[in-house]
Amino acid sequence: MYTPADRMRLARAYVPFQIFSQRLSPMEGLLKGTIFPELYFPYRRQHK
């Protein structure tokens, strides 16, 4: 997609393809919100 004025590319998003290797136990997955360790990114409190 190009903007007509200057032919610059707009921002694009890239998502790497997930490859399954390991899974968490059902209960650990339920508590963490995913059974895939590679998708577990909990929010952390920021220390100021």
Binding site: F20, R23, P26, M27, I35, F36
Partner: protein
């Protein structure tokens, strides 16, 4: 809800969640054989726990045959269950 019942319900929730996770993964990775095997392996466990829960405590949905009197109304609403 007593401890034993709650433990079984949680086990069921965990297995359902795992099945759903593989369901979503397989939607985008239909040729991942190992994930497919894991999904297929979870189903009998899920079925067994669901059946055990329903035999002991009554129907989880209103799509199950019921003994007399109508049992579905006895199941607590999700917000009536203390999960702690």
């Amino acid at each position: 809800m007593d401890r034993e019942r709650l433990a079984l319900l949680k086990e069921l929730m965990a297995l359902e969640f795992t099945a759903l996770e593989f369901n979503l993964y397989l939607d985008t990775h239909p040729t991942d054989q190992r994930a497919l095997m894991e999904f297929n392996a979870i189903l009998p466990q899920l079925k067994a726990v669901k059946q055990k829960y329903q035999e002991r405590y009554g129907p989880l949905t209103a799509e199950e045959p019921s003994s007399y009197p109508w049992q579905w109304i006895n199941e607590p609403w999700p917000w009536e269950i203390c999960y702690e």
